[in-house]
């Protein structure tokens, strides 16, 4: 125990432990700070990759996504934020019947960012991007359709919801519409 130390031993251990503490804070003083000055550095803002902002479905250059319309994301969603519309089509070459995505609706206002849909997706067709500026003037603007290819969605650096939803901005004019 501490009491077994001699008088001088206590002084020595005190100096040692105080110096350790001073060393840690002294190092911290000169460490570059990670604070992001948000509105000013909006162009160069760095958000860590695991941040879950808005659900998105990446499309390739031909407008095709990896979605097979299995509907598992809709089933697993605790808040019913996802509605998948599908239809059966016959493949001309093989003659096999196949499910095809018609409409993929996602309600950002109901989403609780649990990531279950992304985890359960068998083809990794959906993911969360790091956009966090989700404030809009009307709730209806939070209903998004993800099955249409949009410019820029292939990249993960998307930050603004409104920026890539010009049709959402137009809807703002008539908020009665539901």
């Amino acid at each position: 125990m501490e009491n077994k130390k001699t008088y001088l031993g206590k002084i020595a251990s005190a100096i040692e432990s105080l110096a350790t503490g001073m060393g840690i804070t002294g190092k911290e003083f000169f460490t570059p700070k990670v604070t992001e000055c948000y509105p000013e550095n909006r162009d160069t803002l760095y958000i860590f990759d695991r941040f879950k902002g808005v659900l998105e479905m990446p499309h390739d250059e031909n407008g095709n996504s990896k979605c097979i319309a299995c509907g598992m994301c809709q089933t697993v969603c605790p808040n019913d934020a996802i509605v998948v519309d599908s239809e059966m089509v016959e493949d001309e070459a093989s003659g096999k019947k196949k499910k095809q995505l018609v409409k993929y609706e996602y309600d950002l206002g109901s989403c609780m960012y649990c990531n279950l849909c992304v985890e359960i997706c068998p083809t990794d067709a959906i993911r969360f991007n790091t956009g966090f500026e989700n404030a809009v003037f009307d709730r209806s603007l939070l209903n998004m359709t993800l099955h249409v290819a949009k410019a820029g969605t292939a990249k993960k650096e998307e930050t603004s919801v409104l920026a890539d939803k010009p049709e959402a901005l137009e809807k703002k004019e008539k908020p009665d519409q539901k």
């Binding site: 002084i11 804070t25 911290e28 604070t35």
Partner: protein, 358 residues
Amino acid sequence: MFDFSIVTSSIHAWLSEYLSQGLAIFVECVAVGIGILALYAIIAIIMIYMERKVCAAFQCRIGPVRVGPFGLFQLIADVIKMLIKEIIIISHSDKFLYNLAPYVVIVGSVLAFACLPISQGLEILDFNIGVFFFLAVSSIGVIGILLAGWSSNNKFSLIGAMRSGSQMISYELSIGLSVLTVVALAGTMQFSEIVAMQSSGWLLFKGHIPAVIAFVVYLIAANAECNRGPFDLPEAESELTAGFHTEYSGMHFGLFYVAEFVNLFIVSAFAATVFLGGWMPFHVSGLDGFNRIMDYIPGALWFFGKSFFLVWVLMWIKWTFPRLRVDQILQLEWKYLVPIGLVNLSIMALCAVFGWHF
């Protein structure tokens, strides 16, 4: 080195031409008084800004950046806020003492501030018991704090004030002993002479081991005197809301706040003057060329550079260690710092008598 007394004596000669001797001295006193209060306020503002930025850096933040470039105008906004706030009069308080307390604190602080030699010839109070006078006036502040706690008619304030009283009176002893150690080496209590004798090397290096021990003891005790850092029991936000100044608002609170920050500067500047040579540039005896280059840097710059470096060290201590308990504080003082100080003083006395110093 530029001798500032040339300027002051020429001003005195110029005033004496137009005014009688007594009136000239009166005008000079008023000018000096205004000057020192202005400097006091400027240093308080710099200290508050520095505290915010340094504290932020230690806590992995960047501090104020929004108002003005680097958050510089934040201070002006704070000063305006403090000045226009209402001064609330507590109904069941001792009104005379309640209003007197902040001024007692600030008077002690300004008097101590006036002792410090800023540059060669730029000193306001300089006489043969300067160090003694400094210690005496700097301990006036504790009366103000006790008055504030007593007159507020508030349990928290009184507990804070009593803690402050026991703490500051105890640590006064350590400060006295460590300063006495340096006085034993220097052989004088006059600030200008103490600084002048450091032209061949700072006392911290001249007095080697005992001087370094005295320096460390002084820094610990000075931190306790300022009611800061790990010794902020009198204020102890988490226990006593704000301690002795809980009931103060507006500029009365502002005076306590300013006095606290300037006291931190004063103890640092005193340590810089006594241990690190004050305005005296860094001299190495023998290297005349090096010494001459150092002389080109003005004395005031040396003084403020050393002082603010020590302020930074004290802030480093403050933002590193957690607050002590009352019994731990008194134990540290009476069982460790005082015996160390006494032994250290005898070692220094031997060094001074037998000339075992540089």
